[in-house]
């Protein structure tokens, strides 16, 4: 299983029936492909819809209906559309049960940096600051390292997205949960040792006596 598949499959296990969920562009989007059978999850796209569905068949696109990346989507039966104030009211008002976002770095307090690399890449924060500050649960989907450098760091060298700690970080190696005492190593990927995880992590991790393996359905 490649890194991305491990991450999105594991994150899909965080979904619960009836949840309202916002998925960031890129890897997080693929969590929608792994909703457990029989579970009803409402996906919000922050450009103004709850109930977004998959890409429409060729020739059936509507130029008034896209995801937040501008790509054509469908609206499921029972969808609801609204303006940006309402869309972010859902996010900022604590109505969004979960958001899944990519990450560049997470610090020892669980704070995320994911919106800019000064001097290199300044795309703007879009809705990221609102999501990380307002969603009930914030799950970070990211590779454990980037070009060999740890992304779980003592202090973020990149600008923070929010002062608020995230709820969970899922990488292709580990599941890490920010707690009041520090970053807690909750799970390791199949076949990955605790030592291998520690070797690729700059921030200190709290390591319980037993660190179970992720259970990932094939």
């Amino acid at each position: 299983m490649d890194a991305k598949t491990i991450i999105v499959k594991r994150i899909a296990q965080e979904l619960r029936d009836g949840m309202l969920v916002n998925l960031g562009i890129g890897m997080p989007t693929e969590v929608a492909n792994h909703v457990p059978q029989g579970m009803m999850v409402y996906f919000q796209s922050e450009n103004g819809i709850i109930g977004m569905g998959a890409r429409p068949p060729e020739g059936m696109t509507d130029r008034h209906l896209t995801d937040a990346g501008g790509q054509p989507i469908t609206a499921l039966p029972g969808a609801a559309s609204f303006d940006s104030a309402m869309s972010f009211g859902l996010i900022r008002g604590g109505h969004l049960d979960m958001t899944v976002l990519g990450g560049l770095q997470v610090d020892a307090k669980g704070r995320l940096a994911n919106w800019m690399i000064p001097g290199k890449m300044v795309p703007g924060m879009g809705g990221a600051m609102d999501l990380v500050t307002g969603a009930k649960r914030v799950v970070v989907a990211m590779t454990h390292t980037a070009k060999g450098a740890a992304k779980l760091v003592n202090e973020c060298s990149l600008p923070l997205t929010s002062q608020r700690p995230v709820s969970l970080i899922v990488t292709e190696l580990a599941v890490v949960e920010p707690t009041a005492d520090g970053l807690l190593l909750r799970e390791r990927a199949p076949g990955v040792t605790v030592d291998a995880i520690l070797a690729q992590t700059e921030a200190s991790l709290i390591v319980p006596d037993a660190v179970p393996e992720m259970r990932l359905a094939s």
Partner: protein
């Protein structure tokens, strides 16, 4: 109110240097005919308020590529490399605002509020130079209302009273901007008789609209 006028006539009101809100999210819900008319009219030094700068050649991205903006106030420029280039070259001022805060700032101007109290952005670059307010033990960023001289918005339908309705993900900033600009210019994809849009389906009451541009 001026009904069924041509795009050129409507945008003729907009002088160089004006602050112009333009609806749309990645150009979905952007009034392209009005943007084109603005380009053709040769307007420049604009301050444009919108969600993003779309892509080169699309929506607000057209104004960027043609270098008609001195400033943009947006939440995202990542999909338009030309915006980033002009920003880094010092040719374009870019004020980045968290998207939810941007929506509330526009709404605050339109709804007569003095500002927005939000935790979003606290302790980040987005808070730099902004006042904070402590209230009942919590700290909030005080964000200013964002008004404009003009708003260019896109509706799916308009009636003869200029009542507007939007659809799907093409609402985004349009109904908010219709409240927040001194002069509102609306482009409608369809103009229908009064009564075709029921009172419950009107998203923007026609009294807010100054110019209504129909389809060619």
């Amino acid at each position: 109110m001026k009904l069924a006028c041509q795009p050129a006539e409507a945008v003729a009101q907009i002088p160089d240097g004006a602050t112009v809100m333009i609806g749309g999210f990645m150009a979905v819900g952007t009034p392209e005919r009005l943007v084109d008319a603005l380009l053709e009219a040769g307007r420049r030094d604009l301050c444009v308020i919108g969600n993003d700068t779309a892509r080169p050649g699309v929506g607000i991205g057209k104004l960027i590529v043609e270098r008609r903006c001195r400033k943009v106030i947006v939440s995202h420029i990542g999909t338009n490399p030309e915006t980033q280039r002009q920003m880094i070259a010092g040719e374009l001022e870019v004020e980045l605002v968290p998207q939810g805060t941007l929506a509330e700032r526009v709404r605050a101007a339109g709804f007569g509020l003095g500002g927005v109290l939000t935790p979003t952005g606290l302790g980040t670059i987005a808070a730099e130079g902004k006042p904070t307010l402590e209230l009942d033990g919590r700290t909030f960023l005080v964000e200013r209302p964002l008004a404009a001289d003009f708003a260019l918005i896109l509706a799916k339908e308009a009636d003869y009273h200029a009542n507007l309705s939007y659809t799907l993900t093409a609402y985004n900033f349009n109904p908010l901007m219709a409240m927040a600009a001194r002069t509102v210019i609306a482009e409608a994809e369809t103009i229908v008789p009064v009564g075709m849009i029921t009172p419950d389906d009107v998203d923007t009451p026609g009294v807010l609209v100054d110019y209504l541009v129909g389809t060619p």
